[in-house]
């Protein structure tokens, strides 16, 4: 590998798929930040997260340092490059920002993940999994599905009856839509780190070909769709409209 450039971010993430820069809300979250802050970076495609330092994607390398977890990555990038998207928020808005981040990353994300494991969603999700040798492929894929269901159960989301899970997801989407209103970004005219989380997750819900009641519901919410369209036009003209 050539010598890494100084002050240049190497973003290790899942490969491009379905026209998206990456089919993962947390990988997208980091790449959206990099583009919003106009930081120099290169995406590095990695299909197998087990090769990542903590077994999860995304991770970054910056000046020889490896960092995992989007929260840690965000802090480091904003500190290193001296640019913080949330500086213009009031203290009250920062509390609201954190709350919505938790709603997106600690709740709605799990509902989306759960929707990948249902009988309705699984055929679509299977297509994304790495290609395994024919003899073991079916077995490995079903283990991956079981592991995902188990983690949804341990986290708690899958313990409620299925119609309750979808109701909760719809409530989350309604709250996001109501708060956003007709604003360009979640908190007004300037982007915040919340826009990175929100855009990342909405792209996956709306554009991964995995059917679910959550995808259907989100597709019908006009202001959320306009928000995605507007941000993608600005930030990812190389990907938008999706091919």
């Amino acid at each position: 590998m050539t010598t890494p450039k100084k002050d240049h971010v190497y973003l290790y993430q899942f490969p491009k798929d379905c026209g998206l820069p990456s089919p993962s809300p947390f990988c997208l979250k980091v790449e959206i930040l990099l583009r919003l802050l106009k930081l120099p970076y290169n995406p590095v495609e990695l299909s197998d997260p087990r090769k990542a330092p903590k077994g999860k994607l995304p991770y970054i390398e910056l000046n020889g340092e490896t960092l995992s977890d989007s929260t840690v990555i965000f802090e480091r990038l904003q500190q290193h490059f001296g640019k913080n998207l949330d500086d213009s928020l009031t203290t009250a808005q920062k509390a609201v920002r954190l709350s919505f981040q938790r709603l997106i990353e600690d709740h709605l994300y799990w509902i989306m993940k759960y929707s990948w494991t249902t009988d309705e969603g699984w055929p679509g999700w299977q297509v994304f999994l790495p290609k395994f040798p024919m003899m073991v492929g079916g077995f490995v894929k079903s283990m991956i599905r079981k592991e995902a269901i188990s983690s949804c159960e341990l986290q708690g989301i899958a313990k409620a009856p299925i119609n309750v899970i979808w109701e909760k997801g719809k409530k989350d989407l309604d709250a996001l839509s109501n708060y956003l209103g007709q604003k360009k970004y979640f908190f007004g005219d300037n982007p915040s780190s919340l826009d990175c989380s929100l855009l990342g997750l909405l792209l996956c819900i709306l554009y991964l070909p995995i059917p679910s009641p959550i995808k259907d519901y989100a597709s019908g919410i006009e202001n959320l769709n306009n928000y995605v369209s507007s941000m993608m036009n600005d930030l990812f003209p190389d990907f938008w409209p999706l091919k």
Partner: protein, 246 residues
């Protein structure tokens, strides 16, 4: 509606609340406290059915209620159902933005701060506190099966959630940010959204009360101790929780 449940729990317009035992009036579970507080705030007629074994619940989670011949699980679903049925409409004074902010805060509390709290339960120091619950559980099974299952289960849940993948320092930092957010929402007000409690206060109180009042040491408990407005808030809402006598 189930005939069997109606026979066993016959009173109409009356809630049978199945929840974990309490230690010195503090329930083992913040979700049980959340429902109990709602029932007391709204003066809904109810009684507690103390249950140590969550596997008896239709979803193997507590709390659940039996109400007019049907079991209802999930604390938020329970509050929605009762709020509509009895027309308490605790949140009617809130506009759509406030309801959105309230829901987001509830997610912060129940889907993140909750796991931070659980993380500290599984440490050696935290686990000492859990042993105080042993007399409340069935003998032998409580000490040698139920409690170890809770400890192991909590570790697995925290791992699945992702919180325990972070460093200790990061977990504490993130948990304190959560607590700061609750304090910021509250400000100088009596309740999160004004002079009257909302359903979101039930979530906030329940989690803060579990962290602060359960006899389980943690840095989160120490942190709340440094925040007088939050302590007052917890104390104020705590007065609604009476010793079991209903």
């Amino acid at each position: 509606m189930s005939d069997k449940l109606t026979k066993q729990y016959p009173k109409k317009d009356y809630v049978y609340l199945f929840q974990f035992p309490s230690y010195q009036n503090v329930n083992m579970s913040p979700f049980c406290t959340k429902v109990e507080l709602y029932l007391r705030l709204t003066k809904t007629p109810f009684e507690i059915v103390e249950t140590s074994d969550p596997r008896k619940s239709p979803t193997t989670k507590l709390p659940y209620i039996v109400f007019d011949g049907q079991s209802v699980c999930d604390s938020s679903k329970i509050l929605d159902l009762l709020d509509n049925y009895f027309k308490h409409n605790l949140d009617e004074g809130l506009d759509n933005i406030q309801k959105a902010e309230g829901l987001a805060l509830q997610r912060l509390i129940e889907e993140h701060l909750y796991f931070c709290m659980k993380y500290y339960w599984t440490t050696d120091a935290g686990w000492e506190g859990w042993k105080l619950f042993i007399p409340k559980l069935p003998p032998l099974i409580g000490k040698y099966f139920i409690l170890p299952s809770i400890k192991q289960g909590s570790k697995q849940q925290c791992h699945a959630h992702g919180i325990s993948r972070l460093s200790d320092e990061k977990i504490l930092q993130q948990a304190k940010l959560d607590i700061d957010a609750i304090q910021e929402y509250l400000g100088d007000k009596k309740y999160l959204f004004g002079d009257k409690p909302s359903t979101f206060d039930c979530s906030a109180f329940a989690m803060l009360h579990s962290i602060y009042d359960l006899p389980i040491p943690s840095p989160l408990k120490d942190y709340i101790d440094t925040l007088p407005k939050l302590k007052d808030y917890v104390e104020r809402l705590g007065t609604f929780l009476n010793p079991k006598s209903d």
